[in-house]
Symmetry: C2
Subunit: 594 residues, 2 copies
């Protein structure tokens, strides 16, 4: 990010702004990393002079992806770096002219006068230059709905043919070293994202629910097919709410094991998942989680925010640490899903956790892929036990959710940015400085001890101890973020994931509302009957109840989570300062009183 001039003889590496160096050792301690420049020169660079750019994993999962700050987390064990990335998300113009795409945010007056998409999307994301970050969802969604593709049927390919990209050492190791090949695509960050996004978005387009026909089908069908599933919405103390199951469960993700297939040519990590209610275990690979994520997204993604999985990432020399971190996040993701009354009770989710053997898993998998109650059609499974809402109220509630989620998204991003900065300082320059203070005090004591003057050994011992205390403080400072900031960041990171899903959700609701608004014209020209219009209002009302139920679920979780995590943060911070003060008092007590 900045020019850094190496001090000669210090094993340092001179870097200039914009230069890309490959990190050969991301943490040699004291806020330094070892890197290699394009000339192949190696040397130390202060970590806070560089911006870590994660390389390798393709990304751009279409919904609720909080990749931007994930990049920061990943930087903890990532491999490639570049000085400064002017993170422009490269907004593409949304050229949807279809009236059905009028739900598209930015056209509705209440949604920030049409600038919302833009202002949300152009929010600078740290180090997110080449990622299709959450902000791009606006466009992603618009594209999906504005230019629907024909239903292509469920994927026919067997999962064993899936690209094993994360697990495959062939595709990962080279990308770790071969960063230069990718430099060219830097400016086209969105493009890169798209290569993956296209692959990931495919399922969305495979299902009618995510394209216009789904919306028309839901709003205009004379009679909705009675679905086998039924999702209840009741009115509780706080308004509409999902029905919570009487017994809840969590799922413990543990015991990552390296497996291999194709005579060892392909290796992968398998995790053990144990449900707390059944105490039975199943094994899943990352790609199975990925499959589940896509199923949940396709099925519930317009009603319930389904945060994306932790990013795929190349493995490197830090494999163990990386696996640990990803497992921690898979755990968090699974816990979120288990906590959700609708998701956790869904057939696909239950099947994912409870299949008995390979055959049952495959059968369940195919069944889930054939499920047609997806996209907007998920609302057809819902019957709120409450009178229909009128359109004004529906629109107000929807706008309120949009405003809140956007504002919270901003707030969360602000906290993440600040936290990231603070993390860097606490693990980089600050402990280095305390170390220097410690060294300086010890040097001085050493000099003093050569004075030949009698009776100062007590003082010199005390100064030496004070110096050591500052070195201890350096370590305390450097280790502290793992104990408190880490959790604050992870929680915010999770919420960024949730919040990134709302543009799609709000988009679906707004689209439906616009459709109803236009329906008067259709009634006037006898294209639809007044009864059809009545049905439309009822169905949009159902959507509104679902949105409120989900928001109430979201709020109650949010309150609990933020209360817990900020308490934890403050408690840990207080303990941290108390420990430092205590150490200083101890050092002080060694000084002779004169």
């Amino acid at each position: 990010m900045y020019d850094f001039a190496a001090e000669p003889g210090n094993n340092e590496l001179t870097v200039s702004e914009g230069e890309i160096i490959v990190i050969t050792n991301p943490d040699v301690g004291g806020g330094w990393l070892e890197g290699k420049n394009s000339q192949g020169e190696r040397g130390l660079v202060p970590t806070d002079y560089v911006e870590i750019i994660t390389e390798g994993a393709k990304d751009g999962i279409s919904c609720g992806n909080s990749l931007a700050d994930q990049a920061f987390f990943d930087s903890l064990s990532s491999n490639t770096t570049q000085t400064n990335s002017a993170a422009k998300s490269g907004n593409q113009a949304n050229n949807a002219s279809d009236p059905w795409s009028s739900w598209n945010v930015g056209k509705s007056g209440n949604w920030d006068n049409g600038n919302a998409a833009d202002s949300w999307a152009t929010k600078p994301e740290s180090a997110a230059g080449q990622r299709n970050s959450a902000s791009n969802n606006w466009e992603a969604a618009a594209t999906t709905f504005g230019h629907p593709q024909a239903y292509q049927g469920p994927a026919a390919a067997d999962d064993d043919d899936w690209d094993d990209d994360w697990d495959d050492p062939k595709s990962t190791s080279p990308s770790y070293l071969g960063y230069k090949e990718n430099e060219a695509s830097e400016a086209g960050g969105v493009q890169r994202g798209n290569s993956r996004a296209a692959a990931m978005k495919l399922p969305l387009n495979k299902f009618p629910g995510f394209a216009k026909p789904g919306m028309e089908q839901y709003l205009l069908a004379k009679q909705l097919a009675k679905p086998k599933e039924k999702i209840s919405i009741i009115i509780g103390d706080y308004g509409p709410m999902w029905v919570y199951p009487t017994s809840t469960f969590d799922c413990v993700v543990a015991d990552p094991k390296k497996g291999s297939k194709m005579y060892g040519l392909k290796s992968y990590i398998e995790y053990q998942l144990t449900c707390t209610n059944t105490n039975r275990s199943v094994n899943h690979r990352y790609k199975h989680f990925d499959w589940l994520y896509e199923r949940l997204l396709v099925k519930f993604g317009l009603a319930i925010p389904i945060p994306s999985l932790p990013d795929k990432q190349v493995t490197g020399r830090f494999e163990e640490e990386f696996i640990k971190m990803r497992m921690e996040r898979l755990q968090a993701w699974m816990t979120r899903m288990c906590r959700h009354p609708v998701v956790s009770e869904s057939e696909v989710f239950q099947q994912f956790l409870n299949f008995r053997d390979e055959k049952e898993w495959k059968t369940g998998k195919r069944k889930a892929e054939k499920d047609e109650t997806v996209g907007v059609l998920i609302f057809s499974t819902m019957e709120p036990e409450a009178p229909d809402l009128d359109m004004v109220e529906i629109e107000q509630k929807c706008d309120a959710v949009g405003r809140f989620t956007k504002a919270m998204d901003d707030g969360v991003k602000e906290l993440l940015t600040v936290g990231q900065e603070h993390w860097k300082r606490c693990t980089g320059p600050l402990p280095k400085e305390y170390q220097k203070i410690g060294k300086a005090l010890q040097s001085l004591a050493l000099v003093f001890s050569t004075s030949g003057y009698q009776g100062e050994s007590d003082l010199n011992g005390a100064i030496t101890e004070a110096g050591k205390t500052y070195e201890e403080i350096a370590s305390l400072v450097a280790d502290q973020p793992k104990k408190d900031l880490h959790f604050l960041m992870e929680t915010n990171h999770e919420y960024k994931g949730f919040l990134g899903c709302f543009p799609d959700i709000i988009g679906a609701h707004k689209g439906a509302i616009e459709r109803v608004k236009e329906s008067d014209k259709l009634v006037a020209t006898s294209k639809i009957t007044p009864q059809d219009k009545q049905n439309m209002v009822k169905r949009v009302s159902t959507m509104a109840y679902a949105l409120q139920a989900e928001m109430n679920h979201f709020h109650s979780n949010r309150i609990y989570d933020y209360n817990s995590v900020i308490r934890l943060y403050l408690e840990q911070q207080a303990q941290f300062y108390e420990t430092i003060a205590q150490k200083l008092r101890q050092a002080l007590s060694r000084f002779p009183v004169m």
Copy 2:
């Protein structure tokens, strides 16, 4: 120091490394300053992206000048800045070929193999590029002794004709704004320093004691003139020591008042000095202190380190703060002098504090200027009550002092450098970051409060309070250095001043030792008698006793001072962290338990 790219619309100013900007407001808060570049563009720049360069005050006082880090202190209220100053002190070759200058450090074997002067002098000094810093004293001293000038008699001019440079608003105000005129002289920092140094060194050359004749006179005189003064050296528990007066006193510097003369054309600040023993007061201007400093330097400077006065400096908009800071340093300087058993009892010092009227002051002043017991001749007033030391021991003791003072000088500079860095961080980026954390938490609470969800007001109130707590912590962090680091820095700064005097002192001793070493040849060629040589050894022995007495005084003060100041530092730091912990616990207690 670094490139800084302004964010558009943020009122920021883009600066690049090496660019010089004029600070228009050195502290707009939060670690930012307002500056103006050469194109006249104004904007904000983070304070830690720039290195403050103090401008204006001429400097280069010849002895023991700790200007290098003083520049840092002054930066607290200084005006001009530059991005990165490659502080090279521009060592000039020491071309002294006179054998009498063979005491010159670097030629004597024990003194770090001739590299001492160099390594000491080339030590990088922060922001000291254009200052004739302590390190240059080696050359300054060498020049003075190597090329002595003829005795020119005491200054004839009356003090009213002295250049009132500090007090004179005409000479100060323009230099505050007219930085550009001086840019050209940057490379010639030593030259600039010399313009002042020449003026200040003049008194040294006026007196025989500081030039070669003084040394010969002292070492070779058949019989030393019985001086009226007598400085006793006794042998105490810790070896040779000065005789401490039975009652000590301090001198309180207070009540700075602006005065003017020449019908208001010239203004100056007058300080009131009150002795604690007599409780009588006299008034003195800065230039009187300067006069006293020069007298003490000339008289005692080869036996006792006389640290230079706080630097003269232009007054600006921070006049009050500056006056306060300078008074604090004048106070510290006076206290040092009062604490010294030889200096405090000297006639010139006593007269400075105890004159009864203007007439008595002027008489005393002239008398002091005519004093011929100066330079090396000060040793002629000393009679150690102990047997003569042999030459081997003398040389060893002298070398030991040289080694110690040089090593301590390094240690002190290290601590000053680290402290300066820490000061910048604590007053710049760190509180800014805590403030951001505070703001981010408050923003989040504000967003949360718009959720429309019931029963979260307690949480939101608590998060808001936590945010405010982090803002308070930001202030605590920013204010803390004044409470602890300030004193640690001031003490080290004072000691840097002392230590900077030792090259001259050691130089004089080494010179005398070399003279004795060469005297065998002179005896052999009958240029001097064996009795002359005997006298020389005796007199060099006296010098060695004086050096030891002074070192013992120095050490006892050092031990006391460092013990006090590090204790103070640790105590204040502990309190600081305790306060933060307490505030965090208080914030924590506001969170609802769920």
